[in-house]
Symmetry: C2
Subunit: 85 residues, 2 copies
């Protein structure tokens, strides 16, 4: 049995991308919109950045936020352990 | 009073980037390493991708993982609410 995949074509920073995932098309669009907005936000602060560098900095920003959330999530799990005992 | 910022110069996919943040230099290096590895991983599956598109897909991937973690984190918070009552 294979997991059904969804596929959407999205526009990010003026380029078309086809994104495939097991998540809903709504989720895939939400992710693309977030990346697009983050790229435009970083671009507005660094007008001279070429697209590749801008995209790398967007990835850096996203991974940074991921790690911050991971710390928070791990703290929540630790707290839950106390209650679940 | 201003918050002290840390600054590191890192290599991501063959380019130098200066990253500034309130986090430790260790954290900033960890983020850069993760982006670098993710870009190389995506590149290994799509050899013909130009760097800008590769970086955008890396950002897409990171934001997707962020949202998945956010869902998990929100579920943990909901569960904690039951105990904290």
């Amino acid at each position: 049995m294979s997991v059904e995949k969804n596929k959407v074509t999205v526009d990010i920073y003026g380029q078309q991308y086809t994104i495939v995932g097991e998540e809903s098309t709504e989720h895939l669009h939400k992710v693309a919109t977030a990346v697009n907005e983050k790229m435009r936000e970083i671009q507005s602060m660094n007008h001279s950045l070429e697209t590749a560098k801008l995209a790398v900095l967007t990835a850096v920003n996203s991974v940074h936020e991921y790690y911050k959330l991971l710390e928070k999530s791990e703290a929540l799990e630790e707290e839950l352990k106390q209650y679940r005992k």
